[in-house]
Amino acid sequence: MLLKVALASLLNRRLIVALTVLLIAISTLVLLGVEHLRQEARNSFNKTVSGTDLIVGARTGQINLLLYSVFHIGNASNNISWQSYEQISARPGIAWTVPISLGDSHRGYRVVGTSEAFFTRFLYGNQQALSFEQGQAFSTLHEAVVGAELASALGYTEGQQIILSHGLGNVSFSNHEDQPFTIVGVLAPTGTPVDRSVLVSLESLEAIHANWPGSGALGASAPQPAPALTPQSITAFLVGLESRLATFAVQRQINEYRQEPLLAILPGVALSELWTMTGALEQVLTLIALMVLLSSLLGMSIMLLSTLAQRQREIAVMRAMGAHASFVFLLVEIEALLIAAVGTVLGVASLFLALNVGADWLSARYGLFLELNVFNGATLRYAGLIVGCAVLLAMLPAIAAYRRSLAGALAGR
């Protein structure tokens, strides 16, 4: 009966109730959105590199190296020489290395020059290796493997030919048109930047740049007819160690490498440094979101309180019928509960919708691969928090209604 009366009462004031529900829905969206993005940004980054013990690049900040080498965010300031790479790879204790060479693009997607070892050594998520949806790894020149997202976005399948462009950016005027690549493999989705990459061999990259006017014409007087396709330099390389215990020793050795200033980083350590940097900002965002929530719940309380004056008569009628003042208290509380619950559900639903609509943009723009399912334990906890706070804040109008109905005389005027 209580629920029925509360529902009818809310329906009767549907405009102001709808606005209040909207208020709560928006603040739920903000709070859960901030929390979800925060969590997912970390997950997305954390799952991108696993199984790699060290990342080595030119000397720069460790976060910078991590971001440009693996996440394709920003650009390398310097390359490292092939010689250094070979020397370090040959050192004892190092199990494997995978070179990475960046700088070219295909229709806005990054081209990654690497070795075949990439397909076996690059692990993501929970130590998963890359797998092929179609075809296999490149084996000779002018063969390319494309990531899942790129393939579906551009409609690429095995056997198609693509043209790489010099430099980054969507529209490049310097295309390597004379040397098209054939897609020999399409990778299965990983939720990492690999999904948005074109993978080719270092030798292929060397081949297309050997005839390149920008580099070739200046270096030699004429394009070399059959250039040795060994690269001069690479952007960075991933290192796997024979024993993880040696990680810090090897890191120190590389950092003290005489021939060239190098930097070796532990991906996990660099990530946690990144999170420390962003932590303060995240806390501010969460705080703002909580404030938005609090003010929306206060708005609801104000709404309930301000309508009490108009409800004086109906309260008198209920009292005349034999209702105890606690019925009036519960009525206000249940109304608050319904408003908050509907608002929260609406907020979660719109977050779900927004994520599904915005996911492509986020992954394209920021390399964030979000979990689209927002219905998890954390969401449930937050929903509980919102509804709980609503019930708590609704005590104000509920107690006011209780006291008024106890003290108020039955004067039906």
């Binding site: 009818a8 009628v317 019928m321 005389a409 039906g412």
Partner: protein, 233 residues
């Protein structure tokens, strides 16, 4: 048999008031008696009704309604008692505006569920009772599903009678229930109210400042004659 109302040495003072609003040495209403209580505005009529309904508790004295001393009950017990045994009708706005007629009557039933040792009606019996009441009050059954605020004032007051009588109260308290109606409708309304009250031999305390209605009642009482405090501010 108990008296419907028995008051002894009652004194009631609003908080902060210098003088009591009510000071009634003795007053009684018999079972089934119909009392017309009149007095000017501000003479404490509504206050007296609130005390009788157990909404306000007197500072002094004994108020017995249907043999039960209201002062000895808890606030919750008084509320239940009111819902069960007293039908209360206001001057106007007797219904929860956003509920339908049927829901209003059901709500009264919910709060004033009859004493199971006296009467244990089923849901069907209640339905029947509701329909019978509406028919007696000249209201069509179509009104049952209409929101109270969509009724005319006259219809609202008649539904109020149904709402007040659904639990077969033994005391009906009416606080100028006809003053919102025009004079023709007023007599009809009063006749209906008294007719309905007679079905279960309920006592009626009808309060008004309009003495023109007094002729319908067997007992006419000026509040000033029972209330020693009347005439004060």
């Amino acid at each position: 048999m108990h008296d419907a109302i028995l008051i002894h040495d009652l004194e009631f003072r609003w908080p902060g008031a210098a003088r009591p609003t009510l000071s009634i040495p003795s007053w009684r209403v018999r079972q089934g008696e119909r009392v017309f209580l009149y007095g000017p505005s501000g003479s404490g009529k509504t206050t007296l009704l609130n005390v009788l309904a157990g909404i306000q508790t007197p500072d002094k004295g004994v108020v017995q309604v249907l043999g039960s001393a209201l002062g000895s009950m808890s606030a919750r017990a008084r509320d239940r008692f009111r819902g069960r045994y007293i039908g209360y009708i206001f001057q106007q706005f007797n219904l929860v505006p956003y509920l339908t007629v049927a829901e209003n009557i059901a709500l009264a039933r919910h709060f004033g569920a009859p004493d199971p040792s006296v009467w244990r009606p089923s849901a069907e019996q209640f339905q029947k009772e509701t329909r019978a009441l509406l028919a007696r009050l000249g209201l069509s059954e179509e009104l049952l599903s209409r929101q109270a605020m969509r009724l005319s004032v006259g219809q609202q007051q008649r539904v109020a009678v149904a709402r007040a009588l659904i639990n077969r109260p033994r005391l009906i308290i009416a606080d100028e229930p006809s003053s919102a109606l025009d004079s023709d409708a007023r007599d009809d309304f009063l006749a209906l109210l008294l007719e309905c009250a007679a079905v279960h031999d309920s006592a009626v305390v009808f309060v008004s400042h309009d003495r023109g209605m007094a002729r319908h009642f067997e007992t006419q009482v000026a509040l000033a004659s029972v209330n020693g405090a009347a005439g004060g501010p």
